[in-house]
Amino acid sequence: MSVTEQGLLERDKDTMTLNMGPQHPSTHGVFRVILEMDGEVVKTAEPEIGYLHTGIEKTSENKRYVHVIPMTDRLDYLNPPGNNLAFCLSTEKLLGIEIPDRANALRVIMCELARIASHLVWLGTHALDIGAMTVFLYCWREREMILDLNEEISGVRMMTSYIRVGGVAKDATRSWLDGILDFIQYFPAKVDEYERLLTKNPIWLDRTQGIGSFTREEAINWSLSGPALRASGVNWDIRKSQPYSGYENYNFEVPVQNNGDIFDRYRVRIEEMRQSRSIIQQVLENLPGGPYKDPDNKVSLPARETLHTSMEALIHHFKLVSEGISVPKGETYVPIEGARGEVGFYIVSDGTNVPSRVKLRAPSFMAIPGMCKMMEGCYIADVVGIIGSIDIVMGEVDR
């Protein structure tokens, strides 16, 4: 029995059914949850999704591999390089190609910048939901710098599509690398600033500690991933356990907390921002030279200037643009650690230049049933805190 059929109040019951969303500022997109309230306590929470369904998986089955990449940006729109990378890694695994070191290093820089940007959006909106307005403005200030860096390298502020099959779209420029260097020198003081505003703030602690707790077993069983899982005491980061793109070469720690409440998820993400910054610093210190995309022009476009002098390059260019890459028959899945958890594309290829099936493993989608389970027994004011702490992005939930 849905809320819309019966009106918001069903008076024949002791409990009250309360509709929240889809157009609610604290549901982070068009997420709707139907709460059954006993006074001020949530008895059951029933999620309702699908308001942002755009059929990207169906569309992907009718587009060439290269054309799918811009659509993956729109899935998790706060972490586009992560989605690009997940799609490219799966495709490259089917193709069986090796990626040059410089391309891997540039991919890592983009992904870690995106992780910081995504966590900044999370921190800003989450704190705003709970009532801390200032943090929101500070976070947006720093995120703006990352978006400017995105624009400089890819021409686009958010939907970068920078990571391509076989490498990256464009080589790094001197000024871009200098810009990143400036940012990572500026950033640590700012993280300390956010922490000064929140970590020991008694109002913040009252609103977050001990609320929305999940034990280790529950978190695993409900398929939470990423920071939400690590806050419950599970030391699992795909960058460490199944390294990709050269993450095994960098030293970083995986922050783990044990209580699994909103506060611990906050602590994990704050520490992750520091670690991401440290990874970027290590990449910049040892940035390899060499090609930034696969030199074999069967997969990536030949350099623009060679088109005037090399017949072979011209043929490759024509074939790649008019026909695209043909991927050998098979199916594969490569998980990566996105900003919200395990992201990966399951790709089934039938041997043509169009994928036969593309399925995104979206961490937000998998976390929603568990998130609604957490709400049970909480006060209604904590519901927005719980939604914020899981950090859902509806673009990848509804796809």
């Binding site: 699908g50 569309t59 398929s223 594969t332 899945y333 998980p335 036969s356 099936r357 493993r361 049933p369």
Partner: protein, 176 residues
């Protein structure tokens, strides 16, 4: 455990249940019939060496265009947090009355992707508590991710084509 060891262990213990095994690009993949999914899943979760305690994803695939039997497939991606290894279970599902037992009794995380399996492919998941539309509207007809469900465009109605109805659009084959 490496993928080879996982496959070997499963072959030894479930020789009569597992239909086939494979190691594409180094991933462990096993093929299971829908009837034996429950027992295989239980073994994978509870065995001390394997201990697949984390369900990454469940996805459906429609192999209509490849003309092979069975037409549908449900693919389960499992991961073991303690042992750091993964496996893929491929369950072939017949075209007539497609159905597969639920694994949400073992992994609660399967609730949503299994419901999506029904929503997008019309595969009935037996034992699932809410077998209804998840992403598509409640009154939607057809199963969008099936290969015989055409990908069409919606013609924008202007004054010059106000009477243009979707007959033409419906008859259009999937675009490539």
């Amino acid at each position: 455990m490496t993928s080879e060891e996982i496959v070997k262990k499963i072959k030894e213990n479930l020789a009569d249940i597992v239909q086939n095994t494979d190691l594409p690009q180094g991933d462990a993949v096993i093929f299971v019939a829908p009837d034996s999914l429950q027992s295989v899943a239980e073994f994978l979760k509870n065995d001390a060496d394997l201990k697949f305690d984390y369900l990454s994803d469940v996805r459906g695939v429609d192999y209509l265009l490849e003309e092979r039997e069975p037409r549908f497939e449900a693919v389960y991606q499992l991961y073991s947090i303690d042992n750091q290894h993964s496996i893929r279970l491929r369950v072939g599902i017949e075209e007539d009355n497609p159905s597969v037992p639920t694994v949400s009794n073992l992994w609660k995380g399967a609730l949503y992707p299994e419901q999506e399996l029904f929503d997008m492919f019309g595969i009935n998941v037996e034992g699932h508590p809410t077998m209804e539309r998840l992403i598509m509207p409640k009154d939607w007809e057809g199963f969008p991710l099936r290969k015989d469900y055409p990908l069409t465009t919606e013609t924008v109605a202007f004054s010059h084509n106000r009477d243009f109805k979707s007959e033409l659009v419906k008859s259009k084959p999937p675009t490539r």
